[in-house]
Subunit: 140 residues, 2 copies
Amino acid sequence: MNEYITNILKEYDLKVTPQRMCIVEELMKHGHLTIEELFEKISNKFPSLSLATVYKNINAMMEKNFIKEVKIPNRKSKYELIKEEHAHIICEKCGRVEDINIDKKDIVKEIEDKTSYKIEHTALIFSGLCPECAKESEAA
Amino acid sequence: MNEYITNILKEYDLKVTPQRMCIVEELMKHGHLTIEELFEKISNKFPSLSLATVYKNINAMMEKNFIKEVKIPNRKSKYELIKEEHAHIICEKCGRVEDINIDKKDIVKEIEDKTSYKIEHTALIFSGLCPECAKESEAA
DNA sequence: CTGACTGCAAACGTTTTGCACGGTA
DNA sequence: TACCGTGCAAAACGTTTGCAGTCAG
């Protein structure tokens, strides 16, 4: 596992440090985290960690196109490892974020035809109630 | 025109002030503006305008569900008057933002089935090169 | 006339920066 | 060893707040 993360960091031309390993590990484990959440989680294992270090590393990793920011309506941004482009679904109540893969080529085609833009990227967020929060609402 | 804006503000329970009229007018004229852009544009007509006033009004208008924030990848947020929910297309080069209406019910249905979420809102951003910027790139 | 809005300045939270030290390659 | 990353503290930045004066209703 450690070796795995080490290799990923090297692939992206990022020097391997314990702090960076932790950041990647947490992102792999949780998928999407805010700066704050990252800082808190890593501080546990690593009490000397500085917030500035988290920021510097997040920025470094974004420059290398290794992670990216997910801007979420009404909430703080989260960060995720970059993989194939996908949409997100957010629970408006509990704030959990999940990846979803959808087939967007028809819509992209439709928009390209309609607007004459050449579409390169998408940032698609769907939001509502997750099944758990929906259950709670019913109960109440 | 002034009377028109006056009435809209009243509908949303917002007291009518010259500063607010300007904000609405600029948003109607340009569609999407950052806080900075709003401040600069209005300052021209209205040199005494305070940035704090812009912020306070933007927040007041968001509370009344009269305008909303559009979070854009790699750029500052813009604000727009609320109308029927729609997607946005952004030029990654010049930053222009345009509204697009797409039929999303199939996709929403697909995601609801797949995830068991009840989807309430969407924030869909497509990005790429606008026709003008595409032309420039070719020329170069 | 009353409460809400404005402008200013101060406060606040978040993010960035500079620097001395320590660790990676 | 040379350079990059870290941690700390200070600075910068965007946004919010408090207050006194003004304006809309």
